[in-house]
Symmetry: D3
Subunit: 238 residues, 6 copies
Amino acid sequence: MRPSGRQPDQTRAITLTRQYTKHAEGSVLVEFGDTKVICTASVENGVPRFLKGQGKGWITAEYGMLPRSTGSRMGREAARGKQGGRTVEIQRLIGRSLRAAVDMEALGEHTIVIDCDVIQADGGTRTAAITGGCLALADALETLVQNKRLARSPLKQWVAAVSVGVYQGTPVLDLDYDEDSQAETDMNVVMTDKGGFIELQGTAEAAPFDQAELNEMLTLAKHGLEQLFALQKAALEG
Amino acid sequence: MRPSGRQPDQTRAITLTRQYTKHAEGSVLVEFGDTKVICTASVENGVPRFLKGQGKGWITAEYGMLPRSTGSRMGREAARGKQGGRTVEIQRLIGRSLRAAVDMEALGEHTIVIDCDVIQADGGTRTAAITGGCLALADALETLVQNKRLARSPLKQWVAAVSVGVYQGTPVLDLDYDEDSQAETDMNVVMTDKGGFIELQGTAEAAPFDQAELNEMLTLAKHGLEQLFALQKAALEG
Amino acid sequence: MRPSGRQPDQTRAITLTRQYTKHAEGSVLVEFGDTKVICTASVENGVPRFLKGQGKGWITAEYGMLPRSTGSRMGREAARGKQGGRTVEIQRLIGRSLRAAVDMEALGEHTIVIDCDVIQADGGTRTAAITGGCLALADALETLVQNKRLARSPLKQWVAAVSVGVYQGTPVLDLDYDEDSQAETDMNVVMTDKGGFIELQGTAEAAPFDQAELNEMLTLAKHGLEQLFALQKAALEG
Amino acid sequence: MRPSGRQPDQTRAITLTRQYTKHAEGSVLVEFGDTKVICTASVENGVPRFLKGQGKGWITAEYGMLPRSTGSRMGREAARGKQGGRTVEIQRLIGRSLRAAVDMEALGEHTIVIDCDVIQADGGTRTAAITGGCLALADALETLVQNKRLARSPLKQWVAAVSVGVYQGTPVLDLDYDEDSQAETDMNVVMTDKGGFIELQGTAEAAPFDQAELNEMLTLAKHGLEQLFALQKAALEG
Amino acid sequence: MRPSGRQPDQTRAITLTRQYTKHAEGSVLVEFGDTKVICTASVENGVPRFLKGQGKGWITAEYGMLPRSTGSRMGREAARGKQGGRTVEIQRLIGRSLRAAVDMEALGEHTIVIDCDVIQADGGTRTAAITGGCLALADALETLVQNKRLARSPLKQWVAAVSVGVYQGTPVLDLDYDEDSQAETDMNVVMTDKGGFIELQGTAEAAPFDQAELNEMLTLAKHGLEQLFALQKAALEG
Amino acid sequence: MRPSGRQPDQTRAITLTRQYTKHAEGSVLVEFGDTKVICTASVENGVPRFLKGQGKGWITAEYGMLPRSTGSRMGREAARGKQGGRTVEIQRLIGRSLRAAVDMEALGEHTIVIDCDVIQADGGTRTAAITGGCLALADALETLVQNKRLARSPLKQWVAAVSVGVYQGTPVLDLDYDEDSQAETDMNVVMTDKGGFIELQGTAEAAPFDQAELNEMLTLAKHGLEQLFALQKAALEG
């Protein structure tokens, strides 16, 4: 039995709210249950030095948690003077995942920065950030079209992410904090709406997992991701 | 004429939303028009080293802006590895202001950290942070009473803040970004609900100001602060 | 009774020594009693990026204390790898204050850096730094005239600063360390020699202050500042 | 056809040299073809603060590359003042992987630090580091037994890692730099010698991968890991 | 011919002013011609961790230059967030040199920090700092005797330093900036008043130097150091 | 009697292995007994800003130690976020020493970075680094000739270094760790193969040294350096 009473293949209530703040080209509040992340997409002219002159665009991501987004207060990274290892790991994952959504040649020499800031954490912040970040990205690309800077949106596919894991011996979908902190295995699955894998990151926290568990988790993930892609598309049209 | 069409002595629409996030002992979303700041108050046992063993409490504040809370994206301070001078200046002001609200002996050896994170900026973030931070602080103190860690709340007075300035020759109350960026003078006034000044920070941006302008600005500030104290008290009782 | 035996409206002995060191375009030792600050003004070609191409100049300030300028040794900021919050706050105040003294268009694309280094501290280092820094700045501007880089000095007014406060219930002028560390209220007043306010920073340390105390403090400050302007002008002519 | 002429299921020449340097409790030079990593295991008394008093041990890893271990010189992280994101990501992976090899209760309050320093890079440094690091760890645990600090080695299983990927449409084992820099997909597989997965990190670099490719890659990985476990065991006995 | 018109074996005018600032246990302004350094000695209870419990004292030094102590302004190290390599090198030299002056067992578990801050630079700042720092140290040790914390001063010998070099083919004593910046060789010689070498740091800037030049330079250094020891002793008695 | 059983004028076994790693233009493993340092020389186009447009080249060095190159593990400098003072001091010494080997005009606007990374330490790492670094540098210069970027190698002389010291009252050559940690005096001597001194850094660790000891140490150093120059030349020709 899951602490939340959910079925093994049941996600939390998931919402995507567009235009959550007013300045960014794309701004989304994504909620996976009590996990709440503000994702903004900011368009900048030009690209990093290693890409200059190639006619291609770039997408990068930054991630942060408000100090009291968690049960006990974490030190503020800006005050400590450096981003922690977990933060760095997560923002690199978000960036790689979202780059897969876009045709970089069609984007041209623009950089889009996706900022994912967790205002309340309850497990699964990185998967929420990827899912909401892709919608903010789509919005920012539409803005470029509306501003006549691009002829059409270079979004080539939707990207979303969900976590799966093995909790008390049972594979489950979309772990919340109570499950995540005790799970034997935790895996983040990032896919495209066309069915391809973008990232697969599975970690055996307490016990190794085997091929059968891996297969069951992947099946659950695909099931959950179908819902997420539907929500993204509905939100953009909404 | 003010860009917003407001009267010189008129504040923006101001709201204080309690229990905005679920983990902190006090959590308030404060809105001064389009300026939106999440203020959380976190209670920690013990005090900083310089206060140890004196039986007194401590209150400190930290301030941050989400990178895209502003019109153009600012670099993330955690990524740059240091807090900027403006951030440091503001968080010191918030901390000093809120310490005036509390009887430190009655608080005992607890530290309360007020985190003020701007999710959308449109001028006046520091005054919003002080005003919302004091309500989050009051909530956290109530929590200590409910948890039997204190017999009664050591809040001795309310503290709130508002900006005033001289815009196109006219003293005005509660400047938004359009006014703030062009004002001749900008002053932040922090007071108690008993009528005392806690902090006064006036800066001549374009032209020096004189005693008559100072007096007019202080009158406007007192007028605006009366509304803020009423909102704080109503919110706590609400 | 003040610890120093001074009258409430009496400043400490104040001296301004020009050409204190030999390399800088302006170099002043300013002494407010036992508070001693070396202020140098360094002229650099060009301006910061945000001003480039506008034909205007820039003035900025940096502040530091020698580790043993104080009663007990403070850690060296260069060794700790960052400037403390108080340092940042003070150097921003000095910079804003001194920018008010100069016609930036007339200065043209030069940057003047004012370095204020405290070699002995006894209260009031920031007001001494502003007062001495303005003289160093005036000297540096004269140097630009003598070197034919400017036709005439772009100094448009003198800027000086003094502290006032409420000590044991009485408003007093130019607090030394003994008073400052126990004052109920501490206010720094920065004005021009034409009578305008540039900065007003009042802080209630122990108890809020009221309008009457504010008025009295401002009267004291204006009295003290008259002396400072006379000293600055005499020094430049001397 | 692979650039090296290897078969799809063929690893590079792999060697593990024990006692490569003289000071560390475990010291291994691991070579996967031209990739060469020095792995040392250092035993320290005590554990990090979050584990104190629980009677359990801790294993952590650090990773670095000599500046000219690569084709063009990289800036030295110590000189730049921070570890890059890739470094942080890799050392966290190594640490998590190697913690799975040891019974922490049996280790008791010791910390073992695994340092993995790349002296020559040609792809696959993280998988080489895990594979060689586990042997250094095993050696350090033996040292604790020989020194009578533990009754028997708390190594509960061997952990090794290998990369697999899709190169020009074909799943291949143990990618070198020429393949890695052009692969469509790159996956690092960490397993135990008992057949369980510890970590799975797959990234679609150029094109998403599908379930069939995933399955093929996992089969290749298991094949390669069998060789690695045999080498580890032979080395320890050797 | 030397730029200053001095003879090859002639030092600049050298003065040592005690009690230059009021807070430190020892405070000396040392002037080697236009080079001016404030040296303070601060006594702290206790010793660094690596010495705890051994009953011995410790002496360490820190060095800094005011940003405009030099011909063109240098960036402030506190603002850049790190001490430069030259600074680190110099303060380590000062610390090692002054530790040779004191009987650490007799000092007991006290730490003395020597801060050497250059307010005006004209070559030879490190030798001035050692020479003035030793006098500040002697003063601080006397303070410990006067305060009954030590029975007698643990100063076991005087330490002083002077530079020598080869300028236009001729060995010269106590180089000023004009010479130093063009010298073929520059050597700093630190000795005790009993005739022993403490540190010898010779650098061939433009051309290697030979044994004969080395011998000549050492003879000049000994000659100059005799004067410095006489000045130190006279100052302490003065 | 020396701990190693060596004669006072006897060096350890010294080897220089060229082409130790494959990517760098010059790559040397230098061994002074159990001290092992990898020295690589990397050629970069262009020069630092202060040299731009002068047609001259530049040589600089960086130094590091693997965390467990020593008897007890040292913290990794990259993880601590700064290079220690000893590291900075050593890499500046190496850089100055190796610049003496090359005709900078003939090198033209190239920068050569010498990385010296200690993989096993047993005393004398800086002298090994200079000696091995000069061979790596020579190799890199040859590469520039082979690649037709220079007509002939701008190496104008060989530079090598050795340590000497006073151990239990006797001057000895090439101290290992056991001697170094107990020596009364430790001196590093850097010379050219033409007999000139480049750097002389002598430090009295326990007791001052006198002129006679200095002379004896220099004689030993010259004796040792003859061997080193022979080894360098043989290696390059080998």
